[in-house]
């Protein structure tokens, strides 16, 4: 049996009609059926250990405890550190690496009674938008196995889409949670920068990324966010704020919601994407939501180059440490320099090496002003434009310019691959929250819509997201 939403599972568990152990067995049925075709997990935890954990949660319930995620099965992206399972970030370079500590988000999941079932596939070090660039294997989209699930958190999204977990953690550096959500008819939220601790997240681009909740409904995403959010003394970039309470926000009166659609956020997308979103917005307007098309983010066209310059500079720096001295993967050579060179040549994939080289160039003496410093300036301009607009309205736009591509369709040309992120990177540059929810289907393929609000307005996004679900009826859909 497949259960549509985590909220429904939680109801069953709290009412006693479903035990965590029974639920885990249901999930395993789904995994056995789908996983060989989808390949969403890099590591599935030992089944006995997972069942033991389910019994542990059960005894908590028997003691009268009601942890907020009791018995819910969570899939965790493989760039989020777990001391009970290898954490590879989808790279050969980290094969065999088991961190000696848990990410703060993982600690909070465990304290909330969640059952972690496995670590999900991803583009190597989160560098990609299709999950084809995993060092291990590509993940397939459960809605169409010929197509990609999006990336880089494609494993988490695909697993959710077939019912291999109730909730999932991904990470979103430039759309890595929202793009897969849009491609798999699931929901993903990139939180306000600093709302969720990055402690334990294997870094790609520190100033842009957030560990991000994913699920099959807005309410479920809110539940997960409420558990993992809030200040963390182990992450100096977390905001001085407690955990959110977005799962208990009352439904908003539609007439109090105001949406702007800057043309830059939808121009250039494929006709089916465009028409699906416009149709949805019309229906929201009919519900009483104010929708304005008279809006512009004039610097949006610069977002992609600005984003890639900053992201790759930070990435080049973050990936320097993988030199064969502290991690299991090493290619030993007669001396230090050759060992470092060989380890990095063989441990990193092609795209990762490309991004390191570009990042090094962006930071090099003589190029830094032209690239990194200019990008930092561009980022401030984009951020100010976005913040100016979100003060007045929720920004709506496409998540991806195209429906999910076929495997192999985009990765041959890096520029085509990077272009998939054109609408999503804006929220990361601005640090604002962004929610991707299903907007509809075209030709059997899921399409998503994206909403951005001011920092810490996650609650507002959840309210709008639930309204969208009401309108589309796409809540808790599975392939």
């Amino acid at each position: 049996m497949r259960r549509a939403t985590a909220s429904a599972v939680l109801e069953g568990i709290f009412s006693g009609s479903l035990s965590p152990e029974e639920h885990v067995m249901e999930i395993y049925d789904n995994i056995k059926k789908w996983e060989p075709k989808v390949k969403g997990f890099i590591t599935l935890l030992d089944e006995e250990a997972v069942l033991r954990r389910a019994k542990e949660v059960e005894s908590l319930l028997k003691d009268g405890k009601r942890p907020p995620l009791a018995g819910l099965v969570v899939a965790v992206k493989d760039n989020i550190s777990t001391k009970f399972a290898p954490t590879t970030a989808g790279s050969r370079m980290l094969s065999g690496y088991v961190p000696p500590f848990n990410a703060t988000t993982v600690e909070r999941l465990l304290a909330a009674g969640a059952i972690i079932i496995g670590k999900t596939n991803m583009d190597e070090f989160a560098m990609g938008s299709t999950t084809e660039l995993s060092a291990f294997w590509p993940t397939h989209n459960p809605w169409d196995l010929e197509r990609v699930p999006g990336g880089s958190s494609g494993g988490s999204a695909a697993v959710l889409a077939y019912g291999g977990a109730d909730l999932a953690l991904g990470s979103d550096t430039g759309g890595s949670v929202r793009l897969p959500a849009a491609y798999t008819a699931t929901v993903g939220l990139k939180p306000t920068y600093g709302l969720v601790s990055r402690y334990g997240l294997i870094p790609y681009a520190n100033s842009l990324e957030q560990i991000s909740p994913m699920a099959r409904s807005v309410k479920d995403v809110a539940m997960l966010l409420d558990v993992v959010s809030g200040h963390d003394p182990f992450d100096a970039t977390t905001l001085n704020a407690g955990p959110t309470r977005t799962s208990s926000v009352a439904p908003e009166d539609p007439s109090k919601l105001s949406i702007c659609v800057p043309h830059e956020m939808i121009d250039g997308s494929d006709p089916p994407v465009r028409s699906t979103i416009l149709k949805l917005l019309d229906r929201l307007e009919a519900e009483g939501v104010k929708v304005s098309y008279d809006a512009s983010l004039p610097s949006a066209p610069d977002a992609l180059p600005v984003y890639y310059t900053i992201a790759l500079a930070e990435a080049a720096s973050n990936l320097a440490r993988y030199d064969g001295k502290l991690y299991p993967f090493v290619v030993l050579r007669p001396n230090y320099t050759e060992t470092v060179t060989s380890t990095r040549s063989e441990g990193f994939g092609r795209e990762v090496k490309r991004r390191i080289l570009l990042g090094v160039m962006a930071l090099s003496e003589g190029y830094r002003d032209e690239f990194y410093v200019a990008a930092a300036k561009g980022r401030r301009i984009i951020r100010d434009e976005v913040l100016g607009m979100t003060k007045k309205c929720i920004i709506a736009g496409a998540v991806s310019p195209a429906p999910p591509p076929r495997l192999g369709e985009r990765i041959s040309d890096p520029l085509k691959l990077y272009a998939l992120d054109v609408y999503t990177v804006i929220a990361n540059l601005a640090g604002v929250p962004s929610l991707a929810v299903p907007a509809g289907f075209y030709d059997g393929l899921p399409l998503g819509v994206q909403f951005m609000a001011s920092p810490l307005e996650e609650g507002k996004l959840m309210a709008l997201g639930q309204l969208v679900e009401d309108v589309t009826g796409l809540r808790g859909v599975m392939a």
Binding site: I80, S81, A89, L94, P99, P100, F101, A103, R198, Y199, G200, L201, I202, P203, A205, N206, S207, P233, F234, D235, A236, T237, A313, E314, A316, S317, N318, A320, R321, D323, K325, L326, Y336, T337, V340, V360, L363, S364, E365, R368, Y372, V373, A376
Partner: protein
Amino acid sequence: MIGLEVHVQMTETGTKLFCDCRSNYRGMEPNTNVCPVCLGLPGALPVPRRRPLVFATALSMLMVCETPPAMIFTRKHYFYPDLPKDYQITQYQGGGGAPVCLGGRARYYDPDTDEWREVRIRRINVEEDPGRTEYEGSITSSEAAYVDYNRSGVPLVEVVTEPELRSPRDARRFVEYLLLMMEYIGATNPRLEGAFRVDANISVRGGERVEVKNIGSTVDLERAIKYELFRQEKLISQGGAVERETRGWDPARRLTKPQRSKETEEEYLYFPEPDIPPISMKELVIEAAPLTLRDPAKYMDVITARGIPRRQAWSIVLYRPALSLYLKSLDKGADPLLAARMIAVDLKGLLKKLNADLYGASSWPSPDVIAGLTRLVRSGDYSYDEIKYNSLPKLALNPSASLSDVLPPRSNNIEDAVEVVIARERKAVSDFINGKPEALDYLVGSVLKMRRGYAVDPKLVRKVLLSRLTGAQDGHSNGGDGADSTANSRS
């Protein structure tokens, strides 16, 4: 021209710069003072600790620095085995970074010339120390390199001067004074092994700048610069050219050796550390303000204002416990000049001879004793020399002794000495009896000499002698009961 880059560990902060491992790793087994943060494991994040930042701010304030609105950490990249992340978190001016000090000037005392000098400071930055690489035997013969990360992440300040130090000795004096400031604000114990390292940039007229790296003591600093100036001047006088290069100091052979030439300019890929938000200086300046009161120069002023010569004041300030003893003894009413002389000259000399730890508070006596001794000298009860030769040696050996333990005993049987002297100095006695009063002075002196080691009051001796001699003339033999009672009346 000489410019310095001085790296001083903040050994006394308790924690490392970005985690709670210990700032003083000495005596620990290799790789036992480590955690995910200072090992640079992916996902572990640096969270700046407050104390090192406050200390660095205090130093910047003492060096009259211009400070930025907020300090911004920077990543500096280079591949090295003991650098776990292959980048160091430091502070860099430019590229979006902001060091704690953007320029200032440091005053330092030169005891050789008894002058205050000044050098402009180009920058001060806070950074993390790397780990340590060790070899079996030498770097070339060792089978392997062993990396110990216990030191990784220990907080450092790097102080960069303008190239305007005048001589090897001048450079040494500056560093000595810098270390004293770090010790005074409570940041550093400069006597710990490896607590500081100096890189010196040295150039002579007509030559390029040469950097000499890794100088580990102030004595070596003076030697290294002296050697390097000599080498460069000789090279130029022989018609050669001094190329821009980096050399290393070999303390055993006392010479500098080429390390690498600078034809390949380093590429450090600086950019602001995204894991650490800018840290406002405003609160740091407020927090650091009380520390700046512990400025050695201020204490020098306090002491010299009492009429004490500067060199003597320096001798006191050089050792924190001596300063504390001095100031406390003034509070207890000590005479400032006498106390300075006791502490800075005589007691210090004795302690040095005993190889006592001058930096240890327990090597020094209590302020009550010093105050008491100066009072007794001041009132004329004892001469300074009596205290110097009798009391101070006892105090040096036993610093916890009380005043009464160390005061030279008053002789209560001057009569014995008087008898001996009268029996021995027959000529002087007869001279006196025969009407030469000055002979009495000689006799008094002889008695005093005999009683060396005790405090003896010359007036009392004179009185006893007089009564004894006049009594002898009268044919009386006097036991001296009267003298006894007088001798005891002085305590």
